[in-house]
């Protein structure tokens, strides 16, 4: 039984780190514009699918990954420029709906370009499982965990210690005031979309060896990543990671100890409980509207 429990935890951490990584991407755009970008899952899918396509075209994995990340960042930038920016005066809800439209559009384009098939990326460092006290973990999961940790530190440092990051945050707090102190809000928003697209693409490339990818892969990953982000307190990179890990471990414990049929129900029940008792998430800032 202890080995089983350990395996459930290992599974939970593997799955959770994937959710965490995807959830992280939501934080960037939210921080810059208060908008939840529902095309975030599609950025994840786009990164993985582009890498698959480039790999098939003969590029080495590392180069394909870098090019795919840059291309996805470009898509994020174009999305902001041609879909979000023209609706600059619109409410946050309208903008969120635009991102849903963009998600459907991106899925459609990938479907037309590369078809409906499922694809796998090769694991970065083999797939011989790592044994520890009777449980096993794939090396790729360690990559996901490691890079997630690294990205959290980087994203945190970016927002707290760089002028650019602080400028981005300022746009979210008060767009007019940010403009008055000389921040180019437009450029900041484009930057936010490009960065979070790149972050999403990176997540997609990292998890594709474990979860496989297809034109629809972004839907589920986006949903779970979003759940992770709100459980942890949206806009807080650390919170997204904690939320993701918690969600993953709960799912796996639910499947292992209670019933595999109800594992999603158990996880989402938890999300609802969190939102009920802590509407801003476990690590969210308490917001106070000033009238």
């Amino acid at each position: 039984m202890p080995e089983q429990l350990l395996q459930f935890l290992a599974t939970g951490v593997t799955v959770g780190s994937i959710y965490a990584l995807v959830g992280l991407g939501f934080a960037l755009i939210y921080n810059a514009s208060d908008v939840v970008n529902f095309a975030q899952g599609e950025f994840v899918m786009l990164g993985a699918m582009t890498t698959v396509a480039l790999l098939n075209a003969g590029l080495p994995l590392a180069l394909a990954g870098v090019v795919a990340t840059l291309l996805t960042a470009l898509v994020g930038l174009l999305l902001e420029r041609f879909a979000i920016e023209p609706a600059a005066g619109a409410s946050v809800v309208s903008t969120i709906i635009i991102t849903i439209g963009a998600a459907i559009f991106l899925r459609g384009v990938v479907l037309l370009l590369w078809g409906k098939g499922f694809h796998a990326l090769p694991p970065f460092t083999g797939d011989a499982p790592i044994q520890f006290w009777g449980a096993t973990l794939l090396p790729q999961s360690l990559w996901v965990l490691g890079i997630t940790a690294l990205l959290v530190v980087l994203v945190r440092a970016f927002f707290n210690h760089t002028l650019l990051g602080k400028a981005l945050l300022a746009c979210s707090f008060n767009r007019n005031a940010a403009q008055l102190v000389g921040i180019n809000v437009r450029v900041m928003l484009r930057l936010a979309y490009a960065l979070s697209a790149a972050l999403g693409a990176l997540a997609g490339i990292l998890v594709a060896p474990i979860t496989f990818t297809s034109y629809e892969a972004g839907v589920m990953l986006g949903l779970k990543g979003f759940s992770a982000a709100i459980v942890g307190g949206i806009g807080n990179p650390m919170g997204a990671v904690a939320g993701g890990l918690l969600l993953g471990v709960l799912e796996s414990l639910g499947a292992g100890l209670i019933s595999s049929g109800y594992k999603d129900a158990i996880a989402f029940l938890f999300v609802l409980m969190v939102l009920f008792f802590e509407p801003t998430g476990l690590f969210g800032h308490k917001t106070a509207e000033r009238v």
């Binding site: 089983q4 409906k116 499922f118 796998a120």
Partner: protein, 380 residues
């Protein structure tokens, strides 16, 4: 002003089309509704491509009884509600002569009441046994049933002397129906189900379920599922070092499964239509030339063949043969002729339909195959 111009163009186009129609014999209309997009797209997509390819081909060779075939198709996206409205449209607005379609069991079952009421021959391309059992007057199907797949798996288990089996299945219609057959047929083959786990079809990790299966004393694991999930189950088993024989369903009998699961797929067994192992059949097998021809044509045009497109080929050819024997697309006559289909050699096997059997395939239409060296091998 602009509107006037457009309506003029439209009217003249319609007149032109009318004039052309009057010139040639009316085409025979084949209606189809398939899940070309959505979760069952890997079934519906090759089915549509096959129908289009062969309708074109038959027309190029002069059509049926001197009349061209016309394919009218709607995409249901795997949504049973859409299937119902599209089948209504096919019957009432498009006035089709026969329907070949219904990629999934859900789509098919949803349209059966209409089809039966209107009296139109319907050849379904979906798997579940409930489509033709009990027999419905106007409904036929060409794919093997999930019950046959389960029987084939249990036969193979019995041969290997394995009696304790763990099930792991997805949450889709195909998975659930398969699980039911697995539970139903187990006593008949003297098999004990020692574990029964499930997963969501879009889940990314099944190690928790497999960890639960490990201490159950199972001698083999049977996974009934579609899409990428069975490949993840296969990989997770290898990761956990569970060294039990793994059986998959006919739902993953495509190259994609081998590509996704990689090395972990070695030794996996599954019941598959002979199409995937066509080259390995003995030269005297009457199915071999048909399989190779279909495979060659499909691959020349669209890439790797799957058994699912073959079901559409079988359906279309059975329909065309029945229309020819009936002397035209009279619905009642065509229905009777489909029921009289005997010794028809298709991609799924040899069809012998009868008033009590509207599928007409026997258990030996399935071959038990094992994945060895990244390819399918027939298990004797």
């Amino acid at each position: 002003m602009k509107d006037r111009v457009w309506s003029n163009i439209l009217v003249s186009a319609l007149l032109l089309a009318g004039a052309q129609l009057a010139g040639a014999a009316e085409p025979i209309k084949i209606g189809s509704f398939l899940a070309v997009t959505g979760p069952a797209s890997f079934l519906g997509d090759p089915e549509l491509k096959t129908l289009q390819m062969y309708v074109e081909d038959i027309n190029a060779r002069g059509g049926v009884k001197g009349r061209k075939l016309e394919l009218l198709h709607y995409d249901t996206g795997g949504n049973a509600k859409d299937a119902v409205s599209f089948s209504k449209r096919l019957i009432k607005n498009d006035n089709v002569d026969i329907i070949i379609g219904g990629t999934t069991t859900g789509d098919t079952m949803a349209v059966i009441p209409d089809v039966e009421k209107e009296g139109i021959p319907f050849i379904s391309l979906a798997g579940a046994v409930e489509i033709v059992e009990p027999v419905k007057k106007w409904v036929f199907k060409t794919p093997h049933t999930d019950r046959m797949a389960v029987a084939k798996i249990y036969e193979d288990l019995r041969k290997r002397g394995l009696t304790k089996v763990a099930l792991i299945t997805g949450d889709g219609g195909f998975d659930k129906s398969g699980r039911q057959q697995l539970l139903d047929l187990a006593p008949q083959y003297g098999i004990a189900i020692v574990a029964d786990e499930s997963y969501g079809n879009k889940d990314t990790d099944m190690t928790a379920q497999l960890t639960k299966i490990r201490p159950s004393g199972a001698q083999a694991i049977v996974n009934f599922g579609l899409g990428q999930a069975p490949a993840i189950v296969t990989k997770n088993m290898k990761q956990l070092g569970i060294d039990l024989p793994l059986y998959q369903s006919h739902g993953v009998a495509s190259k994609t499964f081998i590509d996704l699961a990689g090395e972990a797929a070695e030794g996996v067994r599954l019941p598959a239509a002979v199409l995937v192992v066509a080259e390995q059949l003995p030269g005297a097998d009457p199915q071999k030339p048909i399989l190779l021809d279909y495979k060659k044509r499909f691959e020349a045009k669209y890439g790797p063949v799957s058994t699912f497109g073959g079901h559409a080929y079988d359906g279309l050819m059975i329909a065309v043969a029945a229309i020819e024997r009936a002397g035209g697309p009279d619905k009642a006559k065509v229905r009777d002729e489909i029921e009289k289909t005997r010794g028809f050699i298709g991609t799924a096997g040899v069809f012998n339909m009868s008033p009590t059997d509207h599928m007409g395939l026997s258990l030996d239409a399935f071959k038990m195959v094992e994945i060895r060296g990244g390819a399918w091998k027939i298990v004797e």
